[in-house]
């Protein structure tokens, strides 16, 4: 969660929806009315939410590129070092530095580094780890409910207005929840 809030307790106003379109429309309305969307909880990836919530594109690709490149360079140099410098052996008359023959292994290592590092970066960035205390606000999220979460930030939060907008946009249920972080 990108919000940096040192408060120990977070209060949320939740709007539950049973339809993707209505929920996306509600997000747009709320944002237009000046509310910051804390997050939206959905059973599947809703593409149009990226735009509606104003999320930036993920930069995981950069991680992949750097990790892959590292793997490529490491494996090429390692193969060169072992086969040419450290302990060369004449096998089948192939030249010690058979760069062409080093390509398959280098390719695999590139992919391996890229994939594993990206996954690790994803876990770290999304703070997913075993036994994490989940912010599961409602088990129906993993079934068929879409939940818009608005954090009640002290002072500036107009609860009445938010409540009204959620109802007007077709929320099937509205709830409040406090989470200790």
């Amino acid at each position: 969660m990108s919000h940096n809030n040192f408060a120990r307790v977070k209060d949320f106003l939740l709007g539950l929806y049973d339809d993707e379109q209505r929920m996306v429309a509600a997000v747009k309305t709320l944002r237009a009315a000046g509310f910051a969307i804390y997050d939206v909880y959905t059973p599947y990836a809703v593409h149009s939410l990226d735009g509606a919530m104003g999320l930036k594109r993920s930069r995981l690709g950069i991680v992949t590129f750097i990790a892959g490149l590292t793997g490529l360079i490491l494996s090429l140099t390692f193969q060169f070092w072992t086969n040419v410098i450290d302990w060369h052996v004449n096998i089948g008359g192939k030249p010690d530095n058979s760069t062409l023959a080093f390509i398959p292994v280098s390719f695999e290592i590139t992919i391996l580094f890229g994939a594993l590092t990206t996954v690790a970066a994803f876990f770290v960035r999304s703070r997913l780890f075993p036994k994490k205390e989940t912010l599961v606000l409602d088990p129906a999220i993993t079934d068929d409910r879409f939940v818009i979460a608005l954090q009640k930030v002290d002072g500036s939060f107009n609860e009445k207005k938010a409540h009204g907008l959620l109802v007007a946009s077709g929320a099937v249920h509205i709830a409040e929840k406090s989470v200790i972080t």
Partner: protein, 193 residues
């Protein structure tokens, strides 16, 4: 937070230590350097080869003729020991073995890696002396494996000694050596076939 960090650091170091141990164990599979087993008879190379200067080939008769150097048979011992130190309890063991026609169960010390062909005579006849591989055997009361006897150890010696070029194929080898005898090689098939 500090507690979490501590746990992470601890588990990482335990993992690191285990990994180090594991690689160490993996490295040394099949390596018996320093192996010095008890033998059925307390035979001393120091007394025979060192103090009394008996040539190696006097007992190990196969070393310059065949693949194996050979453990001397009991009658070779008795060539001398019918006269010398006949009352020693160790010599009595030999006598006993001879009388009962039972082989002495020597414990093999030097084992080469599996799937490698090694021939003593090739080496002995190329001027490799026994101590090159077996270490200062003439000083050992009990035989100890001095060298690792790994492939790397073999090859490094072959590299150091160089490859003699067969006169009929002057382009075969990379290194030239003054010795005209073919004393080595670096192909896999030299030992593995």
């Amino acid at each position: 937070m500090a507690k979490k960090l501590f746990i992470v650091a601890m588990s990482l170091s335990v993992l690191g230590y285990l990994g180090y141990q594991l690689v160490g164990a993996a490295r040394n599979v099949g390596v018996n350097q320093g192996y010095e087993p008890d033998q059925p008879i307390a035979y001393s190379h120091k007394i025979h080869a060192g103090d009394n200067q008996i040539p190696c080939l006097y007992c190990h008769t196969g070393a310059d003729k065949g693949r194996h150097a050979g453990i001397p048979s009991a009658n070779i011992c008795m060539n001398c020991h019918v006269k010398i130190k006949t009352e020693s309890p160790e010599i009595k063991k030999i006598k006993e073995a001879l009388e009962q026609n039972k082989p002495i169960e020597w414990v093999k010390v030097h084992r080469l890696p599996d799937f490698a062909y090694f021939n003593h005579s090739q080496h002995v006849n190329s001027g490799v002396i026994c101590q090159d591989c077996h270490g200062p055997i003439q000083t050992m009361t009990r035989v100890r494996q001095e060298n690792p006897l790994t492939m790397g150890w073999c090859i490094n010696c072959h590299r150091a000694k160089g490859i003699a070029t067969p006169p009929e194929h002057p382009d075969v080898s990379r290194d030239l050596s003054k010795d005209t005898k073919p004393i080595g090689g670096l192909d896999c098939a030299k030992c593995h076939y």
